[in-house]
Amino acid sequence: MSMDYVIVGGSAAGVTCAQTLRKHDKKSNITVISDEVFPLYSRCLLTYLLAGSIEEDKLYFKDKNFYKDNNIKLYLCKRAVSIDRKQKKVSLKDKTKVSYDKLMLATGASPKLVDVPGIDKKGVFTVRKIDDARSIMKMLDRVKKIAVLGGGLIGLRDAYALSQRQKEVTVVVKSPQVLSQMVDMQAARIIASVLEKNGIKIMTGVAAGEITGKEFVEGILLDNGGKLQCQMVIIGKGVKANTELASSCGLKVEEGIVVDEFLRTSDENIFAAGDCAQTYDIAREANRINALWPCAVEQGEIAALNMLGKKIAYDGSLSMNSVDFFGLACISMGITRPKKEEDYEIISQAKGDVYKKFILKENRIVGMVLVGDIKAAGIISALIRNKIDVSSIKHLLLEDTFNYAKIMPLVRKFQERFKQEEYKDTVITY
């Protein structure tokens, strides 16, 4: 039976969903609706573009002919504005109506803004879409000093990128530390000191009170009474899920679009995945949004399989981030700053710029921070995901030589949990 599959959103979750649908169903109609001006670009690469380390033609994360080759209809620069669930139709801003049998919402997220006077001045930007990056680059020649509001992952990535353009960058961070959602204080100190050593100024515990200037940005008034001169302000405060389309047609929405284990929304013909969807978090054992590329890809695939009627449950996502500033790499995962430390076992060690921290609960790793030496990150991620009792290898976690071989006894012991086929291949002769 030929179906009409419609996907709103053309980034990681949407494209993976389209690709998976086509892989399993060669006949049906697949339509992707995207409000972007440029197809198939990787949002995460925008800061690399800003930094000048790549050109626009390297932003593609799929082959340029992906839509054509897969016989997928693409509506580009079109915005989906409403959904008629009874008629099963999506309406676009230009009044076009697109019928669906199964609909996927991969509407993504938008930058959080700050509520300060002067935010509408020229020279204030967020970095989320290709147009943002293009506008910033157009203006860069006229700019010497840049203030970045927000010391989280997004703010720091923006700051790092612009510092590569020889701009004087100051990061204004409300929290007492950078990356407060991602790492603990100790890791934050190491990262902040590397940024500062390389010329990026970091001000913690302050926030912008007003953006000053006439037409263009001239500076910032800080809430501690200080002033900061700058010609550009970047707001890098994180993102919020785009849920308007879902809530306007009555789907259940909390922080993000609510989905069940099959990534189905409160309407059985509508699915959601990626930055807009609130899914199960493995480490926290609760629902939340993990607005991350790998999670979006995973969810796009699972949602597609369920749209095809295969009934595949999603194991859940894991919050995880990787950054690299001036050669200092850091990866964090799961619960990195537990609220009640006494409920957890912490194994950590700092040696110069190398810092490792593992957070355990009942002998299972539930979180990790690695700075400087990240080679074991993937192995640990599998231990977190598969909820493995690590009591027998706990003493090895901090060692420089910690590697896959060290967990092989566990792979043998908990065969039923290490489901991926390739694990078996490694223990054939063990």
Partner: protein
């Protein structure tokens, strides 16, 4: 031997297996891998290259045994899903997990999710490196270099068959 291995390059789902009972941890595989991935492909000149070539295989010890561990070219590869630059992809013909160094930006998302720790950072060039099944040669550098015959290239069935025969013999 080389001819046999050349044939293997075209086979689907081949990868490099290690017979743990034969591996002695001599690290010949690591050395051969680094040399094969150098500019000059010669150990003496490779040492003089601007950036030292990187090995993509590691001999690691587990209890008292040793395993030479490579990229497993996973069928449902987590690294491909995590790659936000499109540098990692699946070769549909051979099943190999391919890495395009020109597309890689060194974000280390693949390092973050590889369950085997088989992707390593090339810090100087700021890109990820992994086993590429030696595209520049007819055979496989590590397998040829292995002095104990611990390394084997082929499909899972072939490897299992070999191990069974060994047990019988």
């Amino acid at each position: 031997m080389a001819k046999d291995l050349l044939q293997k390059k075209k086979t689907k789902d081949i990868k490099i297996y290690c017979d743990i009972t034969k591996c002695v941890g001599c690290k010949s595989c690591e050395l051969a891998c680094a040399v094969e991935h150098s500019q000059t492909k010669n150990i003496f000149t490779a040492l003089r290259e601007k950036t030292l070539p990187k090995k993509r295989v590691r001999a690691e010890n587990v209890s008292s045994k040793i395993i030479s561990l490579h990229c497993q070219h996973c069928e449902d590869a987590p690294c491909i899903k995590a790659c936000m630059s499109g540098a990692l992809s699946k070769d549909e013909k051979t099943g190999a997990t391919l890495h395009d160094k020109d597309k890689c930006v060194g974000c280390w998302m693949c390092v973050m999710v590889c369950p085997f720790g088989a992707i390593v950072r090339d810090v100087e060039n700021h890109i990820a490196v992994k086993c590429d099944l030696c595209p520049d040669r007819e055979d496989f550098a590590c397998v040829v270099a292995c002095p104990t015959g611990a390394l084997f290239v082929g499909t899972k069935e072939e490897f299992e068959k070999k191990i069974k025969q060994k047990k019988k013999g």
